[in-house]
């Protein structure tokens, strides 16, 4: 049935609509110009805020590391479990919800598209099985390619074209969406118990440096005409003084031709913006980083904002997790995924009264607020590394209200209060800006043309919040705002009303988007590759690719590459 959303205050930054009262018409899962009012279902959105469906660019919701995280944290499930209802399935998990619960919780907050970063290609089948099980949202996943041997070998040879063909092939067989690079070079070194400490360190056995890997893959990304830039987790992440490494990383990517589009997306930038010499002298490097980003257009980033809660950190950056293990002494999972990547998991509690955590909280917000252009910054917690995604409304309140920031700031450790730049920042994001950092900007950065906006032809993904922007000043009444954004009045995906006032009305399977990058000459799987697989992988090549039947609702996006 057709749908008509009447009289809502519409915020649609990609089409320049800022709080205008207008109607949105939906037919066949798409937004259309108009529908017949008599035959369609009408949602009265008078006095409500209408946003496009939310897009999350970076959230670990599926895959081997997420599942291992679930396994090692029974205490996380004990404190938060949901019983089944007539419509929804049961589930557990506070920081790492089980697959179905993940879908429901995202949908309740008005999200309709989520991106799972970091999938080890070897674990691609597992990841897709879990993605199939996440209802209510569309999703995609990024394979980890920064330390894959075939990439390193070809980049070391300087053969970008061959590397591009391998990357395209890999995206196809793992059903991935973007190139994810984690601590380039560091993960390969971690296999030998080492790490790289600057972007010019040598990677053992490969005669290559992180700088060459990043620039090389950025060029490859360009050659393949990928919709998203390279998705980059920097070197030296989570180490005091690492903002210099981050600056060098951004500078080295200047050499890649931009053609007006960002060449790299630096993810959870908060963890890469530490100044100071050690944990005792840790301060914020946000000022230097945002100065650079404000003056250059080739970088976008997401926040990785800290939430003060008990959570689980999980990343492919094995050496970083080892550092965290030494700091916390908590239970630790470590792994080295053959020729591809590494991984680690540690439960972690961020505390207000811990000066380091409190400064990290401040850094995340400083980064977002000091970046002038909201199209360059996206709101994430790097779920579940800095906090579960269910805390997004809290972050939005901090971004939109100085009062909300002050309420939390006053409870921080004194040392952190003295070192924070936050009291000097008066900026408060408007609803329009919030629509950019949670939806429009992320969709634009991901190159999803039918997501993140409400123009004609877009997917009918709409989030309607119980908030009257004419009556409520979100900067003052941040608690009302937070409540409204915790549970939508309506979440509509693909033209179906999925949730109403925080209640799930129906389950809808989301599709899995993947890229079919068409290169002029394809990688031939010859005896040489099969021999390598036999020697260095634990699986035979024939068992490696994710075949089409693995994806329940695939959505292939075909792209013509330049090579």
């Amino acid at each position: 049935m057709d749908l008509l959303i009447k009289n809502g205050f519409v915020f649609d930054p990609l089409n320049g609509i800022n709080g205008e009262k207008m109607d949105i018409a939906i037919s066949n899962g798409k937004i259309v110009k108009s529908v017949n009012e008599k035959t369609s279902k009408i949602i009265d959105a008078t006095g409500l805020t209408v946003f496009p469906g939310g897009v999350d660019i970076h959230t670990h919701i599926a895959g081997a590391e997420v599942n291992t995280g679930r396994l090692v944290r029974p205490e996380d499930h004990e404190k938060d479990f949901v019983r089944k209802t007539a419509i929804t399935r049961s589930g557990v998990g506070y920081s790492i919800p089980s697959t179905f619960t993940t879908g429901y919780r995202y949908s309740r907050m008005g999200y309709t598209t989520v991106m799972n970063p970091s999938m080890a290609p070897l674990e691609a089948k597992h990841t897709h099985e879990e993605l199939n099980d996440i209802p209510m949202v569309d999703k995609a996943t990024y394979p980890l390619l920064g330390d894959w041997w075939l990439v390193l070998e070809n980049l070391a040879k300087g053969d970008f074209k061959e590397c591009a063909r391998y990357v395209a092939w890999m995206l196809g067989i793992t059903k991935g969406y973007a190139i994810k690079i984690v601590n380039p070079g560091g993960l390969e070194s971690w296999g030998f118990g080492r790490n790289v400490h600057s972007i010019d360190d040598q990677v053992p056995n490969f005669c290559i440096t992180p700088r060459e890997i990043m620039c090389g893959l950025a060029k490859v990304n360009k050659m393949l005409n990928m919709p998203h830039a390279i998705h980059l987790h920097t070197n030296n992440l989570g180490i005091p003084g690492n903002y210099t490494t981050t600056l060098e990383t951004m500078k080295c990517l200047e050499t890649v031709p931009t053609e007006g589009r960002p060449v790299a997306h630096i993810t959870h930038l908060q963890f890469s913006s530490f100044a100071g010499e050690d944990w005792g002298t840790l301060t914020s490097g946000a000022e230097e980083i945002t100065n650079y980003i404000n003056n250059h257009d080739h970088i976008t980033f997401d926040m990785g904002q800290i939430i003060f809660t008990d959570t689980t950190t999980m990343t492919a950056d094995g050496p970083f997790e080892y550092t965290l293990y030494q700091l916390s002494g908590h239970k630790w999972v470590n792994s080295d995924v053959e020729t591809e990547t590494s991984g680690g998991i540690i439960p972690f509690r961020y505390k207000r009264k811990n000066p380091v955590n409190a400064i990290q909280w401040s850094i995340g917000l400083e980064l977002a607020l000091m970046t002038k252009n909201p199209w360059k910054v996206f709101m994430t917690t790097d779920h579940p590394n800095a906090g579960p995604f269910t805390a997004y409304p809290k972050i939005l309140a901090w971004l939109a209200s100085k009062k909300a920031r002050k309420a939390t700031f006053d409870r921080l450790h004194r040392k952190a209060q003295r070192r924070s730049l936050l009291p000097s920042i008066n900026r408060e994001l408007s609803l329009y800006d919030l629509a950019i950092v949670t939806r429009a900007g992320q969709a634009k950065s991901l190159g999803l043309k039918e997501k993140g906006h409400l123009g004609v032809g877009a997917d009918a993904d709409v989030a309607i919040f119980n908030l009257n922007p004419e009556k409520v000043d979100i900067a003052q009444k941040y608690k009302t705002f937070r409540r409204a954004f915790s549970n939508t009045a309506y979440t509509i995906k693909g033209g179906k009303i999925l949730t109403k006032d925080g209640e799930i009305l129906q389950q809808s399977p989301g599709k899995t988007m993947w890229l079919d990058v068409q290169t002029s000459c394809k990688v031939e799987v010859d005896e040489e590759i099969k021999r390598k697989f036999r020697e260095y992988w634990t699986v035979e090549f024939d068992n490696y690719p994710v075949s089409n039947h693995y994806l329940k609702n695939p959505s292939k996006i075909a792209i013509k590459a330049d090579v």
């Binding site: 090692v72 944290r73 029974p74 205490e75 996380d76 004990e78 908590h330 239970k331």
Partner: protein
């Protein structure tokens, strides 16, 4: 006082978080009868499983007469009042309680007094495994309060204990006081292996024999008496061991000298 009597011999586990003085307080018999409990995978009313009566006695607030070994989570999170169980009680008895008193005239199952923050639990029979220990995987152990067991205790008692007192008049199983950081445990009879493994603080007193001592504990001195709590001392003499040195811990084990002649070899290090 509310008196609960089981109506039948239970076949399935029952989750009854509602049986606490805090929930029952100020409620009529009807309201109490309608409280929700889970039997297996079915949601039921309390009156379908128990006969509920009220009498004029003031204390204790709740008495359970009969074997309720299948009933889990009695006294969950209670803050005041008194519960008496005349029979065996099920798992998670008095979990997360912060005040009040629970008396069990019988045995208890695992996780008795798990993550407790205050109050008193007294068990006249034996306690199961994980006495006063946190839920699996959690690092939040017993924070305060007191547990007295007149019988024996299973393994893994007092994991991650931070403060409070546990007194065991019988024997204790292995892995007692694993990763404890504070508090006092007194075992009047024998203790099992791996006593105080990875402990970094607190003290464990064993008045009986110890099966064996971890190699990561070093002898400190021989002491005549040790304080258990205000006004109570255990009389030795005791060998005092410091550890767990693998964790650079400062926990103390007090092991009876008289009952443990096999530890006499440590005396040469004094």
């Amino acid at each position: 006082m509310i008196v609960l009597t089981p109506l039948k011999k239970y076949q399935y586990p029952i989750i009854a978080e509602c049986i606490t003085p805090d929930v029952f307080q100020g409620k009529t018999i009807d309201e109490i009868s309608n409280l929700s409990v889970w039997e297996g995978n079915k949601e039921k009313k309390l009156c379908e499983l128990f006969k509920i009566e009220k009498n004029s006695a003031k204390s204790p607030d709740i008495t359970i007469n009969g074997n309720v070994i299948k009933v889990k989570r009695i006294g969950w999170g209670m803050t005041q009042g008194e519960v008496v169980v005349n029979g065996n009680a099920g798992m998670h008895l008095g979990k997360k309680m912060s005040g009040g008193k629970i008396v069990v005239n019988g045995n208890t199952e695992g996780w008795t007094g798990s993550q407790m923050k205050g109050g008193l639990i007294e068990i006249t029979g034996n306690a199961g495994d994980y006495l006063g220990s946190p839920y699996r995987g959690s690092t939040v152990g017993m924070r305060k309060g007191k547990i007295i067991v007149h019988g024996n205790v299973g393994s893994d008692a007092a994991i991650y204990m931070k403060s409070g007192v546990i007194k065991i008049h019988g024997n204790a199983g292995s892995f007692m006081g694993f990763r404890m950081t504070g508090g006092v445990i007194h075992v009047e009879k024998n203790a099992g292996t791996r006593l105080g493994a990875c402990m970094t603080g607190g003290k464990i007193v064993v008045s009986g024999t110890l099966e064996n001592i971890m190699p990561t504990f070093a002898i400190e001195l021989i002491k005549g008496k040790v304080k258990i709590e205000t006004g109570e001392k255990a009389v030795g003499p005791f060998y005092v061991f410091l550890g767990d040195l693998a964790e650079t811990g400062k926990g103390k084990l007090f092991i009876s000298k008289e009952k443990n002649p096999q530890l006499a070899q440590y005396e040469r290090f004094l």
